[in-house]
Structure formats: structure tokens, C-alpha cells
């Protein structure tokens, strides 16, 4: 296992270096002259030249990459072409909101999914079980933006219980809680559906074990059987998946944040692309990929430590 952890940690810099190359290349994949694309088709040559100089586009590629890498390693992601502020400052403003949203979704997920999965397993084969499985199938298949707009329409426009978009403040304030509800639910629905199905199948596995039959035979109440013997043993695979889901919630945030005008890194990335603000595009993509890699690694390492049954070759 130590070998596995060391190997994973050694691979990390290689992957991050590769990510930085890909992100660096974003601006160089632009068809034609990137400076012209940024400045717009009608921009005077002086403006184009100025942008070229500002971004250092007139140097050879390896020189440009080396400069990019050393700058990034010093925490300098360049300057946004639209806000004129350092990219890192824009990202630091947005990042806490993305983390807040992702964590809210990660907390909601098991709270909704586990009871649903247990209930479905307890009523196996009955209409409520099939109904739940069908709904969860829809939750997995439906596009995130459709879920977002659906929730917005029902709770924002029809029932008017939650604001339809924007950031209402920190989580501990009422307006903050209200504003995060719909985006967090949207983000969580896919994971809820997946986790409810997994909980159900893990429960069914456990409930077919001999010790569960023994527990029932000795007259234990069904509730105790389900909770004490069933859920307790079914929980490990479920929690494993939750760890993996956290990383994926990060990527779902791009769509969710855009629909709900949630001022996080995902929306910043989409805005940057639309504004052709390439330094900001590179910065946001780099930060999201970085977070994803680190979270994934952390989750894997934690499992390697806590679950001795996982074997790493």
C-alpha cells in the first residue's frame, strides 16, 4: 500500500505538468492570430500588437510555455482582459462560492439518497420501489440544465419559495440558505439518483445474508434489522461512491452555476470563454482541473488507508 501511495504521489507532478501544457495550449489552438481573435475582427493593428506584447505571443512556444509555467508556479495566472484584475484575484473571489455549492450538494446527497435507497430495498418489488427506481433513472439521464430550469420554474416562478438566481450571502444567513437551495439541489440530483440506486442494491445484497435471516428469526423488529444489520453493512460502498461524487460535483458546477448566475469558478469560466478572455479561461480551467486532481487523489488515498480490503496492484 505504501508503494501505491508513493506511486500516486510521484505521478501527481507529471499529471499537473501535463495539465499545465494542455491549458497553456488553449490559447495557441485558436485558429489564426489569437491576439486578433481577442481584440475582435475590426480592431486596429496597434491594439492587436499591444495584446500580442501583453500576452507575450511573439516569442517562440517553448519560451512562452516556460514563462507561463514559472509565472503559474509563483501564483501569477496573468491579468484578465475584461476585469483588468489579476486572474488569481477573480478566481479567489469565485472559488469559495464554488466550494460552498459543491459541499452543500455533497451534504444533501446522502441525506436524501440513503433513506430513499433503504426504503426502496425494504419495499423491494412493490410499486413504490419500481417508481423510485424509475424516478432515479430519470435523475441520472436528465441533462443538468433541464433539471435546473425545471426546479427554477416550479420553485422560483410558480411557488415562489426560492429565489431563481444569484448569490444571497453566506450559508448561515437566511437569504444565503434560500439562494443556495435550488443550485445545490440541481447539482445533487444526479448523485442522489446514483447513490439511491447503489444504496438499494447494497442493502439487498446485505439483506440476503444469513445473519439477517438469523436476526429476523430471533424476532428483531424489521426496523432494527434494516438499520442495525442492513444499513450499517451496506454503508461502506455507498460512502466510497460519495467520495468520488464530490470530485464530479465540481464539474457539474459549471452548468449549475451558469444557469443560476451563481458567482463561482464554473460560471467565471463560461463567461471568460464568451468574452474571449483567454488568461481568465486558462486560469479557471487550470484551477478546476487542479482541484479535481487533488480531491480525487485525497479520496483514493483515504480509502487506501481506511479499507484494507482494497487491493492496489
Amino acid at each position: 500500500m505504501t508503494q501505491y501511495i508513493v506511486r500516486r504521489l510521484l505521478l501527481l507532478p507529471i499529471i499537473l505538468l501535463g495539465v499545465s501544457v494542455l491549458v497553456f495550449m488553449v490559447i495557441h489552438l485558436v485558429p489564426g492570430n489569437p491576439a486578433q481573435v481577442i481584440a475582435g475582427p475590426d480592431a486596429p493593428p496597434e491594439t492587436v500588437k499591444a495584446i500580442e506584447l501583453q500576452l507575450g505571443l511573439d516569442d517562440p512556444l517553448p519560451v512562452q510555455y516556460w514563462r507561463y509555467l514559472t509565472r503559474v508556479l509563483h501564483g501569477d495566472l496573468g491579468r484578465s482582459l475584461t476585469s483588468k484584475r489579476p486572474v488569481i484575484a477573480d478566481i479567489m473571489d469565485a472559488l469559495p462560492k464554488t466550494i460552498e455549492l459543491t459541499l452543500a450538494a455533497a451534504v444533501i446527497t446522502p441525506i436524501i439518497a440513503i433513506p430513499l435507497g433503504v426504503a426502496a430495498a425494504a419495499r423491494r418489488g412493490k410499486p413504490s420501489d419500481s417508481g423510485l427506481m424509475l424516478v432515479s433513472m430519470l435523475g441520472i439521464t436528465a441533462p443538468v440544465f433541464a433539471i435546473a430550469l425545471g426546479l427554477m420554474w416550479v420553485f422560483g416562478y410558480k411557488l415562489r419559495v426560492f429565489p431563481i438566481s444569484g448569490y444571497g450571502g453566506p450559508l448561515w444567513t437566511l437569504s444565503g440558505l434560500r439562494s443556495i437551495t435550488l443550485p445545490a439541489l440541481t447539482l445533487a440530483i444526479g448523485s442522489v439518483a446514483a447513490m439511491a440506486r447503489l444504496t438499494r442494491s447494497a442493502m439487498l445484497d446485505v439483506l440476503s445474508q444469513d445473519y439477517v435471516r438469523t436476526a429476523r428469526a430471533k424476532g428483531l423488529r424489521e426496523w432494527r434489522v434494516l438499520m442495525g444489520h442492513g444499513l450499517k453493512n451496506a454503508l461502506l460502498p455507498v460512502i466510497t461512491v460519495l467520495g468520488l461524487q464530490v470530485a464530479y460535483l465540481l464539474s457539474g458546477a459549471v452548468v449549475t452555476e451558469t444557469v443560476f448566475a451563481w458567482p463561482g469558478v464554473g460560471r467565471l469560466a463560461v463567461y471568460a470563454i464568451q468574452a474571449r478572455d483567454f488568461p481568465l479561461v486558462q486560469g479557471t480551467v487550470l484551477v478546476i482541473a487542479l482541484l479535481f486532481v487533488v480531491v480525487n487523489l485525497a479520496v483514493d488515498l483515504v480509502y487506501a488507508v481506511i479499507d484494507p480490503r482494497i487491493h492496489y496492484g
Partner: protein, 306 residues
């Protein structure tokens, strides 16, 4: 004794070989019939295939069968609810939503098939090379690790950011986004295939790498990769719609379904039907491909399960 039997008995090599080939093709035909029967018994799969066939047909014939031109505006009847004259109602410019969805199917389905086609070809190639030649395995797999460091649709977003919007760019972006999956599954299959006796035998009788890969490896990869591809088409359709929805893919006024939903977003409070129907179109397509993929998996490769 008939001719064939006599020739076989006398040990005439060429005709024995021909006979063997006949026997083999007979077995193959029987196998194909059995697979077809198994597939036809899978009702959800058949339903999925039927829906996809209908969608493809409607998209191809859209300009002939659509009741209106997809661009025709009728401001006087904007936001009309579904009725006999406009089956699915009209949008913010009075354009017929039904006609637009029919036409938009061309984009959504093309993206699905073409993007998966790109990743199928490149991913299978990379995976085969990585699995067969251990020396390049490390390099290819690190490249795949790097691509997988971009979660979900982020890589596609980054590529579209560079290339700009448009059908071809979206196909390229989603195609690249899907490469890691194809590479990984192909590599793992090749790794196990190259240890099999028939590959060792082919190596021992002096078969070249190209011959072994073509004749013994790729042939055995086809079923699982086709199953995987059919399941990924729904993802590609979904990512295509999502990119267009974000304003990064196909641009309005082209009625790609995601782009239609994106425009409808602004009118969701006054005309929810403008958002509902394109969403349903995406949903039906995705579900149909998933059902087909699941059925193909059960038919072709009962050993693979999620």
C-alpha cells in the same frame, strides 16, 4: 460418398480448407442468428432502436415533412401554445417549435454519432497500441491520465474555448473528451487478449504484429467496444446539448436542441413549452441510446456489467 467427403477422405488440402471455411461461416451465420434473436427478445432495446431509427429518419426528412420552415417567423403568433396548427407551439419569434425540433435533430444526432466515431477510432488505436506494446503503454496512459484530470465536460469546454463554436469544433471537442474512456477499455481488453493462447500461437508461427493485431486482437475487441460506443453516444448528445446550452457550441438561430433550450430560458416564466419540448427531445434521444446500449451489452457481451 459425395464429392466433398471423398475429397476430405483423400486428404486433398485445398478443398478440406474450403470445407472448413464453409463450416466456419455456417457457424458464424448461426451465431449471428442467435445474437439477433437474443436482441429481439430484449424489448427495451428494440424500443430504443425503433425510437433512434424514427429520430434519424425524421431528422433526414425534416425539410420535407416539417409543417413549417424552421426559420420562418410569425411575430403575430409568438409564444402560441401547442395547437393543431402548431403541434408544439411557437417560440419567441413565432417559429414553429415542432419543425425546429425536427431540423435540430440533424445537429444533435450528427454530434452524437460523429463525436463517438472520432473517439472510437482514436481511442481504440491508442488503447491497442498501449495494450500491445508495453514500451509505449506508460506514455499513452500518462497522456490519458492528464486528459482525465479535466472533470466531466471541462476538457470539451476548454477545446471549444480555443477552437470557437460550430458543428465541427463541437464534434472534435466531444470526440477528444471521450477518447480516454475508449483508450482505457481497449487497453484493458488487449492486455488480457495478448496473454491468450491463440495470440501466443500466432506469434510462434511467425505472425507479424500487424497481422496478429488485425486478425486476432481487433476481431475480439469489436463487440465490447461497440457496446461501449453505443452507451457513449447518449453522453455525446448530452454534452453537445450542454455546450450549446452554455452558448459555447452550436449557436442560435440554428435549432440544435441545447441551443433551443438556452434561448427558451429567458421566457421560461411566460412560455414554459418553449423549454419543455426541446428538453424532451434531448431526453428521449438519450434514453433511447441508453436502452439500445444496455440491450447490445446484454446481447453481445453478457459478461460486462456496470
Amino acid at each position: 460418398m459425395d464429392d466433398t467427403a471423398r475429397q476430405r477422405a483423400s486428404g486433398s488440402a485445398p478443398s478440406a480448407l474450403a470445407q472448413r471455411r464453409d463450416d466456419l461461416s455456417e457457424i458464424e451465420r448461426a451465431g449471428r442468428h442467435r445474437l439477433l434473436r437474443r436482441f429481439l427478445h430484449n424489448r427495451p432495446g428494440v424500443a430504443g432502436l425503433a425510437v433512434i431509427a424514427i429520430l434519424v429518419l425524421l431528422a433526414i426528412l425534416s425539410t420535407r415533412i416539417a409543417p413549417y420552415d424552421w426559420q420562418a417567423q410569425d411575430i403575430a403568433h409568438r409564444f402560441a401554445s401547442p395547437s393543431l396548427s402548431h403541434l408544439l407551439g411557437t417560440d419567441e419569434l413565432g417559429r414553429d417549435i415542432f419543425s425546429r425540433i425536427l431540423y435540430g435533430g440533424r445537429y444533435s444526432l450528427t454530434i452524437g454519432f460523429a463525436a463517438v466515431g472520432v473517439s472510437f477510432v482514436v481511442g481504440t488505436l491508442l488503447g491497442t497500441v498501449a495494450g500491445y506494446y508495453r514500451r509505449v503503454d506508460g506514455v499513452v496512459m500518462r497522456l490519458i491520465d492528464i486528459m482525465m484530470a479535466f472533470p466531466g465536460i471541462l476538457l470539451a469546454i476548454a477545446i471549444v474555448a480555443a477552437l470557437g463554436p460550430g458543428l465541427i469544433n463541437v464534434i472534435v471537442a466531444i470526440g477528444i473528451n471521450e477518447i480516454p474512456g475508449f483508450t482505457r477499455i481497449t487497453r484493458s481488453l488487449v492486455l488480457s487478449l495478448r496473454e491468450r493462447e491463440f495470440v501466443t500461437a500466432a506469434t510462434l508461427i511467425g505472425g507479424s504484429d500487424a497481422y496478429i493485431v488485425r486478425r486476432h486482437v481487433l476481431v475480439n475487441l469489436v463487440s465490447p467496444i461497440i457496446v461501449f460506443a453505443s452507451l457513449r453516444i447518449s453522453t455525446a448528445v448530452l454534452v453537445g446539448a450542454t455546450l450549446s446550452f452554455l452558448g459555447l457550441g452550436i449557436q442560435p438561430p440554428v435549432p440544435e436542441w441545447g441551443a433551443m433550450v438556452s434561448t427558451a430560458r429567458a421566457y421560461i416564466s411566460i412560455a414554459p413549452h418553449t423549454f419543455l419540448f426541446p428538453t424532451l427531445a434531448i431526453f428521449v434521444t438519450v434514453v433511447a441510446f441508453n436502452l439500445l446500449g444496455d440491450a447490445l451489452r446484454d446481447t453481445l457481451d453478457p459478461t460486462i456489467r456496470d
